[in-house]
Assembly symmetry: C2
Homo-oligomer: 711 residues x 2
């Protein structure tokens, strides 16, 4: 169901309306009246007749006409029955301010579930509970009690009322931007992040979406929606709670779980979200992305009026992965004519005094640079805006002229210009003019660079979009009967896992080449298998009770010769029984020794926020000591599998090292994709670990496999 009647409600009932100035039920009505809300307001309180000049109704039913939205300010326990009343009056949604639900533990969770049940039954959607409220800024439907909210095209979704205040204050003090909507998601008991996102994606008043989140309740649906949203509009997101202390603090005030940062960050990036780590950058980046065209390539020209700023800007852009290519000879020639012999012309361009007498020269230099096809965008850093302050007052008119020219240049070329000015703080008119044209101006060089970089990042996402994952995961797709049967048998035996040879058999069912190995029940069988295989063999205990085979001294490698194999069989079984006397010994797995190569690991698990995820990394010492692994939310595309190989720190090891030939990347990519398919096929799998896998230049061997089932 669309959230249209909630966000663009034409009438609001305030349940818990009050004459007490300190109460939310009073403040809410005052804010709506003062803000000149365009719709109807119906206070409800059985004990009052009139509040702030409005007739007060005894109950919701009493209003006697259809209402779109209810703001409920009464305590938690009143909610279930109130929501039933809302439903009977065909109210589309309710904003629930009260805390005392899921964030307070089991009792609260129970009440929350009960409330949601009633709401669903009556077709009422819920914002919150435990929310600061919501605001439809253009229609002045302010259900928060926060005044002075500038109107504009940013939709704000926040898990903290405090951060909403932060961003709104920042917008008002430092920009010409404003908001279309604000919603505090609270506990997300009913409406979740992705549903808000969906609404704002289609909303014509919204040009970009800003999100502050501490933990997601349904990360996968969020990713799926974000992936669709970012085709049309940028999403700028800050996720906090990454530190332990931070996570505790996040937990204490919203009751949400902070997610695994690494998985979240990669997934956000793939969904095209601009993922912000530094809170200072959240609003500025949203400002830039909602005001400027994204860049069509990754090459920025830096235009400076001083060497220090040019050097720092180049450092920071470079850290963000932006190219700062030397501009072409023709462009340099044009710049030379304009700026004279002292200027640095390659990139960064340092005017070296050529703008001192006339800062409108900046506009001409910008025109020359943006005419250069290799340049995707411009970053202007330094004193612009301050020439009229620092040097001579009359120069401010030149700066204003330049601002008009720069603004029109962006419109014409559809290439973004971002400006850093040392004098931003003094609010010269020229800089307000730039903002009028949608050119953001920052007093921080670092932030200006970050904004330039995200314009490039978002531009690349828009052009790359088709190749990204949709995050759509089809449980049960393409399962094999034999696979399901093995899993069922394992469950029947009360086992939480498949045995090693079963897990490998499952892989085999899906086309993975697994070692030619046999389960020997007796020493004699083992010897006979080893003879068939020829050469040295690996021998491993197989028992449902023994998960960590090495700990039980249940593994022998490189065993060769009939006697040695017989002896090893007996030793392994004895050691295993010594380790776990009640172990049900199914036999000893006899496998050919894998040829040497590079050890890698592939693992999957079901993440609490994002569902199935896959991990890839170099095995052995690398995974244990350096944790050199990368994650992806499943399913993965061939492109994603390839990128995983490149993204580990020690990826060089895969591409031929110390004179060794490169490994068989294709085999590894195929294995990653097959594992992705297997996890999709069997919702019964909790974790699948292939470790180690030995990859060579001509194929790979899966040496060990571990498969845990869901509970």
């Amino acid at each position: 169901m669309s959230l249209e009647r909630i966000f663009n409600a034409e009438s609001v009932v305030v349940v818990g309306a009050s004459r007490d100035e300190k109460k939310r039920g009073f403040q809410a009505i005052r804010t709506l009246l003062e803000g000149k809300y365009e719709g109807d307001i119906y206070p409800v309180n059985p004990k009052e007749d009139r509040i702030l000049g409005l007739k007060c109704h005894k109950s919701i039913a009493d209003i006697g006409r259809p209402v779109d939205l209810a703001l409920i300010t009464t305590p938690a326990r009143t909610l279930p029955s109130l929501l039933a009343e809302c439903g009977q009056s065909k109210i589309a949604g309710a904003v629930i301010i009260a805390g005392g639900f899921g964030e307070l533990g089991e009792e609260g969770k129970k009440l929350e579930r009960q409330m949601v049940e009633v709401a669903r039954e009556h077709g009422v959607r819920l914002v919150g509970p435990n929310t600061s409220g919501m605001i439809s800024v253009h229609s002045n439907m302010n259900l928060v009690g926060l005044s002075g909210i500038p109107k504009g095209d940013l939709a704000l979704i926040s898990q903290s009322g405090n951060m909403a205040l932060h961003l709104i204050t920042e917008a008002a003090l430092k920009s010409q931007k404003g908001f279309s909507y604000y919603v505090g998601v609270g506990n997300e008991a009913d409406i979740k992040f992705h549903e808000y996102l969906e609404f704002f994606t289609e909303d014509p008043k919204t040009r970009a979406i800003v999100i502050y989140v501490e933990g997601l309740r349904d990360g996968r649906k969020f990713l799926q929606q974000a992936y669709k949203t970012t085709r049309k509009k940028p999403i700028v997101l800050l996720k906090s709670g990454r530190s332990v202390t931070g996570a505790q603090s996040a937990g204490s005030h919203t009751g949400a779980l902070a997610g695994i940062s690494e998985v979240a960050h990669t997934a956000f990036r793939r969904a095209g979200i601009i993922n912000i780590l530094n809170s200072d950058e959240l609003f500025p980046v949203a400002e830039a992305l909602s005001s400027l065209p994204p860049m069509k390539n990754n090459s920025v020209a830096i235009l400076a009026d001083g060497g220090g700023h040019a050097t720092i800007a180049a450092d920071v852009l470079n850290d963000h992965g932006v190219d700062i290519p030397a501009v072409g000879e023709a462009t340099q020639e044009r710049l030379r004519k304009l700026l004279g012999p002292n200027a640095s012309l390659r990139n960064p361009i340092d005017v070296a005094g050529a703008t001192d007498a006339d800062p409108s020269v900046f506009a001409e230099a910008a025109r020359i640079l943006l005419r250069d096809e290799s340049i995707g965008g411009l970053l202007m850093v330094g004193l612009f805006g301050g020439y009229g302050i620092r040097f001579a007052e009359r120069l401010k008119f030149k700066e204003e002229d330049a601002a008009h020219q720069l603004g029109k240049l962006v419109l014409k070329t559809q290439k973004p210009i971002v400006v850093h000015s040392l004098y931003n703080h003094a609010r010269p008119h020229s800089l307000d003019l730039l903002r009028y044209y949608g050119i953001p101006v920052y007093d921080s060089l670092e932030i200006a660079c970050k904004c330039s970089a995200t314009l490039s990042q978002y531009g690349r996402h828009r052009s790359d979009w088709q190749r990204k994952s949709t995050f759509v995961f089809n449980w049960g797709h393409d399962a094999k009967d034999e696979g399901n049967a093995m899993i069922a048998q394992s469950r029947k035996e009360g086992r939480g896992l498949l045995l090693e040879h079963e897990a490998k058999r499952l892989l085999g069912l899906h086309g993975v080449k697994v070692p030619d190995e046999r389960l020997a029940k007796t020493a004699k069988e083992a010897a006979s298998f080893a003879k068939e295989l020829g050469g040295p063999v690996a021998m491993k205990i197989v028992s449902p009770q023994i998960v960590h085979k090495s700990d039980a001294r249940g593994v022998r490698l490189g065993v060769e010769g009939q006697d040695a194999v017989t002896q090893a069989f007996d030793d392994i079984v004895a050691a295993a029984l010594g380790y776990e006397p009640k172990a049900d010994i199914r036999g000893v797995l006899v496998s050919p020794m894998a040829e040497p190569g590079v050890e890698v690991i592939i693992g999957t698990k079901i993440d609490a926020q994002f569902g199935p995820v896959i991990m890839f990394g170099i095995g052995g010492i690398f995974v244990e000591v350096l944790k050199d692994v990368v994650f992806r939310v499943l399913p993965i595309t061939p492109k994603a599998a390839e990128m995983m190989l490149d993204e580990i720190r020690s990826s060089k090891i895969l591409s031929g090292f110390r004179g060794k030939p490169p490994i068989d990347r294709q085999a590894l990519i195929e294995l990653l994709l097959t594992v992705s398919g297997i996890i999709e096929a069997y919702p019964q799998i909790q974790e699948l670990d292939l470790n180690p896998i030995i990859v060579r230049h001509d194929g790979l061997s899966i040496v060990d496999a571990r498969l845990l089932l869901t509970k």
Copy 2:
């Protein structure tokens, strides 16, 4: 010679004085007059009689009385003779504005050397050339032409005039801080960074030193001075030019080389310098460190009035390595009484509305927190300063009361308070009051956290100071005659390196246990040595022409048995001659095979900026693929050697891994210290590489050694 007469000059001659308003020689005099410089001003220009009402002298000699300082604005080529004149008039120093020296290549370098020679001969010290000038702010001796410089206690040393303008503007717009001195170092032809640093260390008007640097000309002397300075005063430094493009840009405007970032950063930290990577943080950190007492421990309490801010602050402090411990029960109890049941009391402390009616409650909460002995400092984040703006105007008086209390609390407890306020931009009086007491207020949460973290960092440096390196390096200390003889012999033979066995012999001279190995001249000798050693041996070609022995197939490992050794000798020699027909074959080194262990590497080199540096890392694949190495400027202390072992990413490998016992850390620490001593002993060594070294739980073996001599 002290720079006293330069920085506190009582008279200034302006050479190149002019009546042309556009010329520096006019502007400089105007600035001195307008700024009411306390000393005497003597314009010099043979063609003028009076400039701006001052008598103009035909020459320096013409002045006829002693002058302290000369500002020279004439072109590069005029300098040598002008400096001779300065010397004859006993002028202590000259500020040289002109470019056209070392930054322009060989011709310019020559002129620069010539100029410095004349200056030294006549006892004149030089600021610059290619500098924006210098300012003694308190005496209004402004030789830059930059007006509106706030007076205060920060000394600013910068390699970019642009960045100086940046910092001065930031101070004026955003703080109550100001400057004691500014100097633009320019090309550092004579006076270098460390000499300025020395002067400001002793200067009573300076409380902290701010440095912007792109490349250092004498990094070691800088470190030595910084190490002394930071005992007394903080140094806050930003080094840019770390990216390639950035480095080009830095090079183009100052002609200095950008240094190896990794070496520089570690060395700066050891010298107690606060090394800033984000330019937004440079001034704020200087403000905090020059106004507040440093922290006595690493534990910060966060005091917030909203969950979002608390969560983000905890994240950021945690990223900076600051502890945010739960406060004690007694403290929590006191806070509970003050803030009521809804507040989060552990840390971060979230007042949860308890300050809404009276923001002076913040001061009381701060008092309770700073009384807690486990807490070293306080970070207040959120809305303070804005209660009078957002909620009710009368609350601003409560905020002002709180500001007075907080200010006096810092004075009394000597624990720092740093404040973030969303309303800083609006400049409420309460926040100016905080600044009056030296409590800095930032609108950036991230920067407030950084400042808190650096107060802790600087505090730790002050208490740890004795253990740090002095960076004093005694070339030639403790050299052995035999070592010098080997090096001399090598030079005599025209070799740029010692042979492997010679390098090991040198190590042995300094007490390092080296393998019992012999140089065999014939196959027979080799066989006999191998027999004596017993067991398998390693055999390696020894020839001055063959540096990379493996490339020449000049290495055999695990050779066992008389016939095999004889055969290997012949093969190695044949292969070496095949690889390099003119090779002078000195023989084949026969060594016992090293027992297995962890491969590490120790290397040294002479860095262009910092002199001798040492590198340590895990060897093999780690050093080649992951570059998992750390650097230190030599000499190192035992503590530094120990820290190097811990600082590599894969340090876990050294502390016992996969059930192996920990390696012999002591042996490795001793080896690092001995190598440090050897480099100190022989200034003739350019590079020493011990690679690999195999470390076991009971000692280590140096398998290969490579020693290059200086040219």
